[in-house]
């Protein structure tokens, strides 16, 4: 064997060994369990914090409002779609204050006139002209009982 190969081949073997060693230490342990990915990331993603708690949790404390809503046109809505995510509120009622929206702009995100909305799906109103002497929708309408008009 020529002297070049007598030097180069051992060098190659050393290099491959070093590479395999590095690989052993650098590949995360859960890698490859379910596929070509780090299986532990499934648990890491699964344990991310949730912010929306769901209607049932709100109803635990706010049973009156929940009962009223249950027989109203808005019964298909969760509480949090208007009031925002409830996780902070659950933890700390002082700091986690939820919004109680009711402006024309807010209610208009669903109810304003838009030709792309089907009238059989959503009741629409022209928020610019409807009862303009009142400022907010909730001045007249109770969001949990929409046809129970306030005077």
């Amino acid at each position: 064997m020529p002297p070049q190969l007598k030097t180069l081949l051992p060098l190659l073997v050393v290099f491959i060994c070093l590479f395999l060693l590095a690989r052993h230490f650098l590949i995360p342990e859960s890698f490859g369990k379910y596929g070509h990915y780090r299986a532990n990331s499934l648990d890491e993603i699964a344990t991310l914090p949730t912010h929306y708690v769901g209607k049932a949790v709100c109803a635990d404390c706010h049973d009156e409002e929940a009962a009223k809503l249950a027989s109203d046109l808005h019964k298909g809505l969760t509480c949090e779609v208007c009031h925002g995510p409830g996780s902070l509120h659950i933890e700390d009622q002082e700091k986690g204050i939820l919004v109680k929206p009711g402006s024309r702009e807010f209610c208009g995100t669903c109810h304003s006139l838009n030709p792309a909305r089907r009238t059989e799906v959503i009741h629409q109103i022209d928020i610019k002209t409807h009862n303009i002497e009142r400022v907010n929708c909730i001045d007249c309408h109770n969001p949990h009982a929409v046809w129970e008009m306030k005077e």
């Binding site: 379910y34 838009n114 792309a116 799906v121 959503i122």
Partner: protein, 236 residues
């Protein structure tokens, strides 16, 4: 040959190999999504809730889910818009007399079973979970952005702080706790549904059977598991 509907498993082992797809775990649900365009009112609550639930950056350049408004005018021209992803609701600027047809299309990750984004990740940082949810391992992602280039639906973005690829996770952290993903939770009209595609008595089978469903860009063979009812030909 497996059809695009039902999408209960990748059609054959060779295809699965090419797409780096794993065989679905029969003991777990295999999630699919249904969106009924006829029920969407474009309120944007889904897009808003998604950002709130998943701590997505609030700037209008990063969306895991968004709502598009399509307007086809009488002269045949098409206008599409999604201001801030539709989060603040949408208005129609074109006069009603000029409009031929207009509708909303919610968009989100299609959680493809032959996902091009999973196929191209060089290190294995993005993958399909045993439940059929395409996820990103943010501790492993090197931020090369190949997946962002490969997604035909524009669902991915680079997180500006984490510098890793980010996308809709079907609120995997909520699914695991038995909760609905945020966007499904807050939809006021029930335009969005999701469920186990393996469940013959489940909502997805019902949805697929009762409606004529379509996926986006079927010619790209992504195995998209997001089925639309009422998808118009113009929708991209």
């Amino acid at each position: 040959m497996a059809g695009t509907l039902l999408a209960t498993s990748v059609s054959n082992p060779f295809t699965a190999y090419i797409f780096a797809a794993n065989e679905p775990d029969k003991s777990k649900p295999w999630y699919g999504i249904g969106i009924d365009i006829e029920k969407c009112i474009g309120c944007g609550n889904c897009a808003k809730a998604c950002k709130a639930e998943n701590d997505v950056p609030k700037e209008p350049f990063f969306f895991r889910s968004w709502v598009e408004q399509y307007t086809i005018k009488n002269d045949g021209s098409l206008k599409v818009q999604s201001p801030n992803g539709g989060i603040d609701g949408q208005t129609q600027d074109i006069h009603e007399d000029e409009i031929f047809k207009t509708f909303f299309v919610p968009k989100m990750c299609n959680h493809c079973e032959k996902s091009p984004c999973v196929q191209v990740c060089p290190v294995g940082a993005t993958f399909e979970s045993p439940e059929g949810v395409v996820l990103v391992d943010e501790k492993y992602c090197i931020g090369c952005r190949y997946c962002i280039q490969a997604c035909p639906y524009g669902c991915r973005y680079l997180h500006p702080e984490k510098k890793t690829a980010d996308k809709c996770t079907l609120c995997y952290h909520r699914l695991k706790k038995g909760l609905n993903p945020a966007c499904f939770e807050v939809c006021p009209t029930g335009a969005r549904i999701y469920g186990d595609l393996h469940d013959k008595d489940g909502v997805m089978h019902k949805f697929l059977k009762e409606h004529n469903c379509h996926v986006l860009k079927p010619n790209l063979n992504t195995g998209s598991k997001l089925f639309y009812n009422g998808l118009n030909a113009e929708v991209r």
